[in-house]
Amino acid sequence: MSKHKIIIEPGTENSNYIKDLWNYRGLFYFLAWRDILVRYKQTVIGILWSVLQPLISIVVFTIVFNKLGGFKAEGNVDYAILVCAGMLPWQFFSSSFSSSANSLIANSNLLSKVYFPRLIVPASTVIVTLIDFLISFLILVGLFVWYGFLPDAKIFFLPLFLILALVTALGTGLFIAALNVKYRDFKYVIPFIVQFGFFISPVGYSSSVVYNSERIPELLKYAYALNPMVGVIDGFRWCILGGDTPLHTMPFVSSIVISIFFLIVGVWYFRKMEKSFADVI
């Protein structure tokens, strides 16, 4: 029985945390399963919603910016595919970020009544959005067929950039989730971050627009690359659009460094605050 021996003391680090995470993997699975089941209960078209939302945004973008605004993609790529390759990772990031950031508050009844490693809650919400992402990938396939576009072998690198998006979303989500428990202000900050991030990320335009522009000072180009989603979206386009779509080195490297930095800070801060969650929630 001594294998279950627990010592509870203030201040000490829980040395069994990793083991606990493993023991509670069932809960991780069930929380994700619950969120997926509940998501589309009492909806008529159900899971189609996860396709419909990005699809409508892509259509609107294509009409407003391409047809009316005259935005063009480089080379012989269709603008709709360019937007889609940016919209899908962005949607994945923004919904993972906001749902994980809000997850602790949404599950406050659990936090105050049962013990489990709290990391499970925000992590399981990311799984839900990951599934949404995989379903919405059908749009891209549809566009390939519609425009008769055949991606090249670089598309096999796509999972790497998906992991990069996941790391970014989880790191920032954990950090904000922990803050959100104590300072409810973050409930209002989250939509703002998402909206602001949307404009500074190359969703409706290509990063080359920024890098090839002579009106943008060098310093701002560095600042632009600090947004880890720039590297992610550029990476997605590099994989999907193929051809001579460039992968800018600066945002790519900074994206990897910054997203890992966010993950470390996020996990560290989350773990630091975790013990007091039940006291303040």
């Binding site: 029985m1 509870i8 003391e9 699975y29 069930f30 009844n109 428990v181 104590k182």
Partner: protein
Amino acid sequence: MSKTIITVENVGKKYTLKHQNSEQYSSLRDVLANTAKSIINPKSKLLSGASEEFWALDDISFDVKQGERLGVIGRNGAGKSTLLKVLSRIVTPTKGRITIDGRVASLLEVGTGFHPELSGRENIFLNGSILGMSKSEIKSKFDEIVAFSEVEKFLDTPVKRYSSGMYVRLAFAVAAHLEPEILIVDEVLAVGDAEFQKKCMGKMKDVSGEGRTVIFVSHNMQAVSNLCDTGILLNKGKVEIQGKVEDCIKKYMTSSRGINLTGLSLSDRLSRTSGGVFFEEVKGIKNGEECWDFNFDEDIAINFKVTASKDVPSLGFYIAVRNPFSEEIISNFKTVICNSTLQKDESRVFTVSVPKKSFRPGQYGLYFALSNSEYKEFYDVLDNNVNIPMLNINPISMDAHENAGFVSLPFNLKIND
């Protein structure tokens, strides 16, 4: 007896009470504003930080042996729930050390994590995993759980359509099939009908019969004495006594329920009232002794002694009875006690009695007030804000129809032939 499975050494849990904003979580704006204030004027921190330390648990130590059934009792706010939360690792103690040697499952609420949109079947899996069961464990016990809950027919109905009784039965059925080495249970039997409560008590006894350890918190002394063999009486975060459960219950029934009005915060009372006449003594009386616990079939009497602190023109008395959530059940029993001037230091003694079987089993919050005869000016108010004891009515039977509701209505039935 067998080996020690839980050791609690000098455990304390401190909360900081903020008087200004009672919310535990703060707003960033306040933090920024206060930081700015304290930079500009370091003294202002003393004013804005009107906070007070409060030890919900204060230097608690005890041991639990394997197979022991421990009842934790005490008044509201004695620290029972905090103790269970610390033992279940939901909150961390501020000081001290707890060693637990075994798998713990805690049941602090019935149906934690139940989702109203999900079906009964889905909720069994979800709730089971929240309580720490593995998927295969739930699968193997699934039929047993369903049989115990008696909701077979509605397994695929969302639980939001369940009656509250069905909901509780399903939730407890899942919890009852946990197989931890240590089971921690808070006041969960207070819900559900009598028949099902009996079934649950039986199940909990079975559980401990298999060598498992049970820690049980309840206000229902009958349930505690039925289930537990040892007990701990908590009072204001400290262990008052530990030992045989009968001794703890006896002590709880007599002393800890007593109300010492001089000890109640007079400033709290004065802030709401003008203070011309004070309650000096309020005592629930049973067989000539002070008591706030009555059986359903016992007459209730409450003795009052009130004293004027200055001359007042008249004296009225006012009672309300509330449920534990401070919602009024019976409001405004008004009586004029004295229609002429009550002089300084003059006292009045009176008794309020309620015939047996008027109040249904349960806990009632009491509200007493003294005023002038027009009930306009209030002299003194006693209610749960100053922590007066609750009136506790214990059930005498398991008859659900006799135990439900708040009050019995005296009525006449006349047969016309």
